[in-house]
Symmetry: C2
Subunit: 206 residues, 2 copies
DNA sequence: GATAAGATACTGACTGGTCGGTATGTGAAC
DNA sequence: GTTCACATACCGACCAGTCAGTATCTTATC
């Protein structure tokens, strides 16, 4: 008996703790990488004890999976945001590019974390599949835009849309990578406009 | 006294041991990542003892640096190989692409290792600079080809060569990344020709 | 509205195992 | 008999995960 009827405050507290642990984890993982990140440091930064951690996560691996999922959905949201099918292709591309690049520039943890995810994908098939699905979603969003643009006669008809989406995503990711390795040489904020124009030129009907 | 006048055989033996340790290290690092890769496993795969390792490398970090250096020069070699300034731009691009993609496809350790390097670059400024220098060299090679092509009147004159090299490298790296995460969806061997043709079309004089 | 009973959220000391690095030994080449 | 190249045994630090204990809430009973 003694059924707990009102556990809303408890739930809120739980949620809050979990969130704080996750936020700390993202910082620590981004700064130290998966292996060097210690549970002790995460709970220290979150202001909790080790016991609290194991109330909310089964293991360090479990935390990693949760983090990956959260980050991917966050990422997809940013990708989708601002896409407006009634606008011309070029506008949508520009919005997506500045959205994604802006996210990377405003969040110093973005690049280290995704490199960590990538490195893990090489060893963990679950992680690899999650990332593959993320790319799949990206391509779907872009494919939608391109198909509509082609149907509206605003795009060349002799191009392979699958190929275009691959190359576009590849270019975006590659730019992010280079800007992370050589931030003085490759400035993301200066890339949005040239990339947009180049793509527009490439896709424009003759 | 007792000066060793003929230490050539010793040297050879030393070199061989070091090489075998490096080769084993590359395997282990690619398979497990820097932190999870243990010195014990490396020497086991190389067929030596831990003592041998510390004769040739100061520390695990030292080994990592040596490996990075070796891989980068190896990588640059592959990039440079086959470039022939007397041939048209398109041929050179095709050669470079199939060279780099071929390297990645034939060496399963390539992608995991470079993702590992990338993840480390986020935390270690020395590693970051080494990778930045590598990108710099790549760009130099491409810039050379493009300038000659432009001077020969075989390329549009209104394009920013720096931008082109960045995007080209970004696209290549991005394709490699995607093919690693989703090998069924993105096939590198099918990308060489479309990429070459797209670039040729982009750069061709009106 | 006081109190007992029990659930929940969290604490923090402890352990078992792992692993980088070292100290010392050994056999071969010269 | 000295030096070089490597082998072996060991140490100490670190860290993921455990678990018995505590503080704080909610509900039930009077």
């Amino acid at each position: 008996m003694a059924a707990v009827l009102n556990d809303a405050p408890r739930r809120r507290r739980r949620e809050e703790t979990r969130t704080r642990l996750m936020e700390a984890a993202i910082r620590v993982f981004a700064g130290a990488g998966f292996e060097r990140a210690t549970v002790d440091e995460i709970v220290r930064q979150a202001g909790f004890s080790k016991g609290a951690f194991y109330v909310h996560f089964e293991s360090k691996d479990d935390l990693f999976r949760a983090m990956l999922e959260e980050r991917i959905s966050h990422q997809l949201e940013a990708f989708r945001q601002g896409v407006d099918q009634t606008l011309p292709l070029t506008d949508n591309v520009r919005t997506i590019l500045s959205g994604v690049f802006g996210l990377v520039r405003n969040d110093p943890q973005w690049a280290p974390l995704f490199l960590e995810f990538g490195a893990h994908a090489a060893r963990n098939d679950g992680v690899r599949q999650q990332l593959a699905t993320m790319y799949e979603r990206w391509r779907e969003i872009l494919t939608d835009i391109l198909i509509r643009s082609r149907e509206a006669g605003r795009m060349r008809k002799d191009l392979d849309i699958t190929f275009i989406t691959m190359v576009l995503i590849a270019a975006v990711e590659g730019c992010i990578l280079q800007s992370h390795v050589a931030p003085e040489t490759v400035r993301l904020d200066k890339m949005v406009e040239p990339l947009t124009l180049t793509l527009a030129e490439w896709l424009a009907p003759e």
